[in-house]
Symmetry: C2
Subunit: 343 residues, 2 copies
DNA sequence: TTCTTGTATGGGAACGTTCCCATATGAGCA
DNA sequence: TGCTCATATGGGAACGTTCCCATACAAGAA
């Protein structure tokens, strides 16, 4: 219970010998004419009293906070960190301050942050939702940009990578390098109703190649380091796994790298005994051994686009919804073996 | 300019047939007696109207926002990400919401975030300052905990690692493994007046061992991946560097790993041609090749302590300042060569 | 002169809460 | 009956701004 003897424009007005309206006209940038003498007096009074504008009060009056919240599921993942940073650049240039909320793949945390947003603390929201309940987000009626495509995308601005095409690119590469028993490891974001885009691309791919889907090599796993260790255990526990799996598509690089690591400790050499391909191209992908073959996401572009769409939405809440997807780009390194050079 | 037809407690009160005071008593948790019937009517009205409490208004009235800002210099560095997460756990348990500000080692950004804090948007602040101007932070009169020790620590709560001892531990290990031409690479946070603690430990160490300080092998460098590439270039550009340097203490792991990487590309094998030791023990330290020998910081404990001290400070702004430092712990891996086993 | 126009200023009502104070009611007790 | 006390409620003044409206004055046009 700190005593805040905070000085308001009223005190400033008294000292400067003008009305609070005049002081307000000086400190808020929104025009209104003030004579040079009056302005000088006000400025001097502000300086003398150490007046600081109370943005809570401004926010109450104007219904704007000039803050934007970016919610990401895992702040320790460089992919999110860099996407957020790119978005931050664009938003700060437009005068907004950006803070980041880390949901940690946790629905309760996500809900907590959405609560903050709902109660008027932010002018806008950029988020990768941990849940598939986009309707709840939409109904808050706060300018929002979704980070990462969801199949069931109803009516929200969206930026991200064309996941369907990017996954397909990875699978095609595995196929081209002679792999025929391709496993997939990815998360489902806790939803039963919708197949994730990665899973859908996988199913389409198998169907097209005339391969049957083996449920035992479809791993539903969290996209984290812990998930990687778990995945390695699951693979090694699968009876006769060498005959059933020759390659794995991992839902992101963090998972792929952790899996390589864990398999390596068990004596499995990735890039020879087994191929692994990731998705993202985080810095560590180039540094790990074997270096990870992966599909790069354009985080810089994604972040900037998120900022642009959010600003556009704030400026005009009624504009039509927009979706901007960027293609993924194959980066070949060492974690995928050349089995056979057919086609 | 979105039209917000936001419903206030007044509308709720009308529908429920009570006064706004009664509604306030229901929605705010701070006691005041309300009859069960009145409460039920209010709750029903809230449900029907979809009323959401406006925290901007609450904040204006109560001078509390229940938000805490954690400012870190590099959100992509897992060390900061995990420290922040630990602090977040502690603060959320106490009812606060936590957002993260990424200063990117940038004074302008830091100043922007401090501006947010000054204007009453946060109840508390946890930060690793990019500058040495702690007086400016202290004078804001907002509950603040400093993340990371600074030598010239006047009157702010502080948590972090005992940098002096941790650096010393690294240098002692290099010495014990036979290194005698030890370089240091670390940042100075842009201040001329104060020697960083790492630098001070280095100077003390040399003095004690009777070695002279060679300014050419004291590298002032940013603690980032870019810094690592720069450091590698600087070393290779140093005439006759093999005779002048047998080992390097790097200011953090991100720098150390990037340096190992860049040197490797130039054909220098770290752990044989040159030893490198880091500070932090981020996950990548165990994964890179050669794996990094480093001094582990206790990020979990540090984060939790930061939360504790901040809560204590908020509860009692007048309490004496407290400093909690945790020891670093040597983690030996492969990046330091055994030169000679003297002593 | 008188009427318009523009600039400069002040007064007060919002914004959506909380909180202090006053009042009403009824129970318990002398 | 009259007094105290606890519980329940409402009215209005804050909190620190912005914004609408009214007004004062000077300068230029009729």
């Amino acid at each position: 219970m700190s005593k805040k003897p905070s000085i308001s424009i009223i005190e400033v007005a008294q000292l400067a010998g003008v009305s609070k309206s005049t002081v307000s006209r000086v400190v808020s940038d929104r025009g209104g004419s003030v004579s040079p003498e009056a302005e000088a007096k006000v400025l001097a009074a502000i300086e003398e009293l150490g007046y600081i504008r109370n943005h809570i009060a401004v926010g109450l009056r104007t219904q704007r906070t000039w803050m934007v919240l970016i919610m990401v599921p895992d702040i320790a993942n460089p992919f999110w960190a860099e996407t957020a940073r790119a978005a931050q650049d664009g938003l700060e240039a437009a005068g907004y301050s950006v803070v980041i909320g880390n949901t940690d793949w946790n629905e309760v945390r996500q809900e907590r942050y959405l609560g903050l947003a709902r109660s008027g603390r932010f002018d806008g929201l950029i988020l990768n939702s941990v849940t598939n309940d986009l309707e709840a987000i939409r109904s808050m009626r706060i300018p929002t940009v979704l980070l990462g495509e969801r199949s069931e995308n109803p009516c929200l601005d969206t930026v991200g990578t064309d996941t369907l095409a990017a996954t397909r690119r990875a699978l095609d590469y595995l196929w081209a390098t002679g792999h025929r028993r391709i496993a997939i490891a990815t998360s489902e974001y806790g939803s039963e109703r919708f197949l994730s885009l990665r899973r859908r691309a996988y199913a389409d791919f198998l169907a097209e190649k005339g391969l049957s889907l083996d449920p035992a090599i479809v791993f539903q796993i969290r996209l984290s380091e812990e998930g990687g260790r778990e995945l390695a255990r699951s693979i090694l526990a699968l009876p006769d796994w060498q005959r059933r799996i020759d390659s794995i598509f991992c839902g992101n690089d963090v998972l792929a790298i952790a899996t390589i690591e864990a398999l390596g400790e068990a004596g499995v050499i990735v890039g020879r005994d087994l191929s692994i391909i990731g998705l993202d191209d985080i810095p560590a992908a180039a540094h790990c051994r074997p270096a990870l073959t992966t599909v790069r996401k354009q985080r810089e572009k994604t972040g900037r686009a998120a900022a642009e769409l959010l600003l556009a939405r704030i400026a005009d809440p009624e504009r039509p919804f927009e979706k901007r997807l960027f293609p993924g780009e194959l980066v070949t390194r060492e974690s995928v073996a050349e089995r056979r050079a057919d086609q």
